[in-house]
């Protein structure tokens, strides 16, 4: 690992790395075990130095990672998985920090291609995820079994509109589709595999035919 990367890591943890470089660094973190290990060590040291062994600073780092991921353009929903606080404390006591439990380990849960979602399987993927838990202050820092998931800010989460809302829009759009595409749009509307009608929103107007 070069000094330049180390400097970037340090700046990232201090919140001083520009967004574009943060984005590149996060991509590299996804595929570089050594880098994740280094991030873990640096962040642990920084957290301990800044907080006298308490964990809020570590949470700030986690939040920074989360926020940086959320700011990444055209990326899918990501969740930052943090180890339990007990793991941090054990590591602070001198245990070697395994790359697999690194603070910055990014668990990519769902990603939607942005350049070309034409591929039928490229979008509308609803990952079967464990429950998302907010970071709260009342967790037992010694409870090493508690996994914490931090979601990006909701407005940036590419969850898409609810299926029922999409269906309503498609019904309105159907009449404007070209003669070549209209049949496809209609077939999609009544397709049994289509999840669009699984959920129903309250109707704006309910009436007899």
């Amino acid at each position: 690992m070069t000094d330049r990367i180390k400097e970037q890591l340090s700046a990232f943890l201090d919140g001083e790395l520009p967004d574009p470089e943060s984005a590149l660094l996060l991509k590299r973190l996804e595929r570089d075990d050594e880098l994740r290990g280094a991030l873990s060590r640096y962040s642990l040291i920084g957290a301990v130095l800044r907080s006298d062994g308490d964990v809020p600073a570590a949470r700030q780092v986690a939040a920074r990672v989360s926020a940086a991921i959320a700011r990444e353009p055209a990326r899918g929903t990501r969740f930052v998985r943090l180890p339990g606080y007990g793991a941090f404390l054990r590591a602070a006591a001198g245990a070697a920090v395994a790359a697999g439990v690194a603070l910055g380990a990014v668990l990519l849960v769902q990603q939607i291609e942005s350049q070309d979602a034409a591929a039928p399987d490229a979008v509308m993927a609803q990952a079967d995820l464990p429950p998302v838990q907010p970071v709260t202050d009342d967790l037992d820092p010694l409870d090493g079994t508690a996994d914490i998931y931090v979601t990006p800010p909701a407005p940036d989460a590419p969850a898409g509109i609810p299926p029922a809302e999409l269906a309503n829009y498609l019904v309105a759009h159907y009449g404007y589709a070209s003669p070549l595409a209209r049949r496809s749009v209609g077939a999609g509307l009544i397709s049994d595999d289509d999840p669009a009608f699984v959920e129903q929103l309250p109707p704006a107007e309910t009436t007899d035919p």
Partner: protein, 330 residues
């Protein structure tokens, strides 16, 4: 199939013995058949690794188009339209959605001419003749997009009826996204009204009506930038199922592909949605612009939806206001 000479006569098609093998010519013949033919048939839709069968009944009588589309798999969902009214029946949801627009006849819209302005965005190629098992000889024509903002088509046109009996929708790289293939097609100029009655008990359904609020009312929003070739072709405000407030609806088209943009105010306390969704060949891209939820929907690549949705601005905004809004977003 019905004997081919009878089909041509029934459709009022000119019996021209020697066609020029031109893609444009075949598209024109296909467009005429689509506008005039009455038929019953079944087709298969293959997309995203799934295959689904549909039955279709289509009638053109005195300028009125009636069509009934029935899913032959599972719950028997149906779509029935008569001119400007479309009803989607969802028996499994005990729901029917009516979409009615007045004063417009988009549903009667003919196939565009791929000349002039259209030639800048699509290229029509004559591919050749191909014999299909179910239909015999067909003329194969490709409508290729000239950039990645739109999809392309490859059409297998029955040489006698001029109907497209198979169509492949493909992206800019030629990858097929969806294939529609007729397995049965029968022409009939005397399809009765009863053929367009849904095969379900309508009294047990909850009816939801989607309609325009006013022909003169238009949303005060416009896309500041659109992909090459796209123009605003319609705008209005309408009530949709779900939102309590009226929804702005803009339609952008390049002559073949269309994108609908819906603008609505989020419900109080509701975080606006954002991201990409999909239904069949149609995709949707949702973002937030100045506190409004903006959703672009269409049978186009997601980048086209995103380009239009993210460039939406209040129409009355001055340049300074637009800059201020952009700064707020950034």
């Amino acid at each position: 199939m019905t004997p081919r000479p009878a089909i041509a006569l029934a459709l009022g098609l000119a019996a021209t013995p020697a066609f020029a093998e031109s893609g444009q010519e075949w598209l024109a013949r296909m467009g005429a058949a689509l506008s005039n033919a009455s038929y019953l048939g079944e087709f298969v839709s293959e997309s995203a690794g799934r295959t689904e069968r549909f039955a279709i009944t289509h009638r053109v009588r005195d300028g009125v188009v009636s069509e009934r589309l029935v899913s032959l798999s599972g719950h028997g969902r149906e779509l029935v339209r008569e001119n400007d009214e479309v009803v989607v029946y969802l028996p499994d949801q005990k729901l029917a959605i009516i979409e009615r627009r007045s004063g417009r006849s988009d549903l009667l819209g003919a196939l565009p001419q791929f000349e002039g302005r259209m030639a800048a965005w699509y290229k029509v190629d004559w591919v050749g003749r191909e014999t299909l098992d179910d239909f015999g000889p067909t003329a194969v024509v490709a409508v290729r997009p000239l950039d990645s903002f739109r999809f392309g088509y490859r059409l297998w046109i029955d040489v006698d009826s001029h109907m497209p009996v198979r169509s492949d929708l493909s992206d800019g790289s030629g990858r097929v996204i969806e294939r529609l293939r007729f397995t049965r097609l029968k022409f009939d100029n005397a399809i009765p009204d009863s053929a367009f009655e849904p095969a379900l008990d309508r009294r047990k359904l909850r009816w939801v009506r989607q309609s325009p609020q006013s022909d003169d009312e238009a949303p005060a929003w416009r896309a500041a930038q659109v992909p090459p070739g796209f123009r605003l072709s319609a705008s209005g405000v309408q009530a949709l199922a779900g939102p309590n407030a009226p929804v702005g609806h803009l339609v952008y088209s390049d002559g073949l592909a269309t994108v609908s943009v819906f603008i609505r105010v989020p419900r109080p306390g509701q975080v606006p949605a954002a991201g990409t969704s999909r239904s069949g060949v149609a995709s949707a891209y949702t973002t937030v612009v100045d506190g409004h939820q903006v959703t672009a929907v269409g049978e186009v690549p997601t980048r086209t939806l995103k380009a239009i949705a993210t460039s939406l601005r209040p129409a009355a905004a001055t340049p300074d206001e637009a800059r201020a809004a952009a700064n707020r977003r950034n």
